[in-house]
Symmetry: C2
Subunit: 210 residues, 2 copies
Amino acid sequence: MESSIATSHGSSRREATRQKLYEAAVTLIAEQGFSATTVDEIAERAGVAKGTVYYNFASKSVLFEELLRHGVGLLTASLREAAEETARRGGGKVDALDAMIRAGLVFIDRYPAFTQLYVAELWRTNRAWQSTLMVVRQEAVAVVEDVLREGVRGGELSEEIDVPLTAAALVGMVLVAALDWKSFQPERSLDDVHAALSRLLQGRVGGHRP
Amino acid sequence: MESSIATSHGSSRREATRQKLYEAAVTLIAEQGFSATTVDEIAERAGVAKGTVYYNFASKSVLFEELLRHGVGLLTASLREAAEETARRGGGKVDALDAMIRAGLVFIDRYPAFTQLYVAELWRTNRAWQSTLMVVRQEAVAVVEDVLREGVRGGELSEEIDVPLTAAALVGMVLVAALDWKSFQPERSLDDVHAALSRLLQGRVGGHRP
DNA sequence: GTTTTTGCACTGACCAGTCAGTACAAATTC
DNA sequence: GAATTTGTACTGACTGGTCAGTGCAAAAAC
């Protein structure tokens, strides 16, 4: 039913157990939060004894940190891939942004629990994994920033654009719209959501009529 | 130091205590999450005995629920006010949306901890206060949806717009951009952030050059 | 003199992390 | 090829600590 947010290779038995634990943890933590989720629950959902959790991970927070690192890694790879694919096709930077929006939606569609959890934790301070999260966030946002910057440099995007702020806004637009889609209007198709966001990106909401 | 997210009137002594508890709770919960925040911490930060917390609120979650309800109430009022003010001035619907973006930013600037906490809890399922939160979210988003709908009806906005999805995207854009601003680029001014978002709304990022 | 707050001791449920022990397959010895 | 050792993965009862919530007498505020 849910997100296989884990390392792919590693054919050992151990790796399979880790997988199951990741998958159990991601949904439970997304639903209840980190502190409200008990290690016993995670073990039970994974169909494993509690001791096994500690055999595989040093602590509850380490399990969570590795989960975060891997999940964001997947997203970043997927965004970068979308941008490169567009470039290969000879598309412009706006097309690349549009492709990245779609890649983001596909990711969230596949791993909604992970996304929920990421958003919930991202701006928290004073947490053990805060630094991990900041590094990993920067990697993801940087992919969007790069495309914006190239667009400005190549003259395709206006020079008045504030790159970091615009990147954050675009990421936020996709994240929140997608989470709302999954939670409150799950009957809508990915294409619908993509079309709505695309329209906003291309200025066909508040823009001067062409 | 932080957000006076509480009922304004109520001159009684009791109300003042409630205020202090709201303020203490909102920052602590934003930083650590609901479960990781203890009632003792809240009491200590508020400079109040633990018994007082229970004299004023039935339980920890009731305290939190009332916090949520009131905070979103403030935001909703502020958004509605911005839209009406624009209408009074004779501005168009795009102007109203722009004014609402600014109102949202002002709110987040004033109550960053509350906003952080709201975003972290919004898409969680299976929580005691989930229903409270959904009602209250709908009120806030509805304000944006109303303006979009009026804009479409009056011909100022394109009919192809998907109102609920676009509203969610706009709200998300503001929330995430603002939280990023507060957390990662606090040196930027509100006007900078507003300008960046305004540009996106008005299609001067990916839009066809006029 | 009523309402609100304080301070503090207490309870009982809950939970992260530990540890002695089991299962079992593959390697090693005889 | 049977007997023994080794390494790896896993188990679940147990422990020490934490925390929401209670109870209450005395003080303070109004």
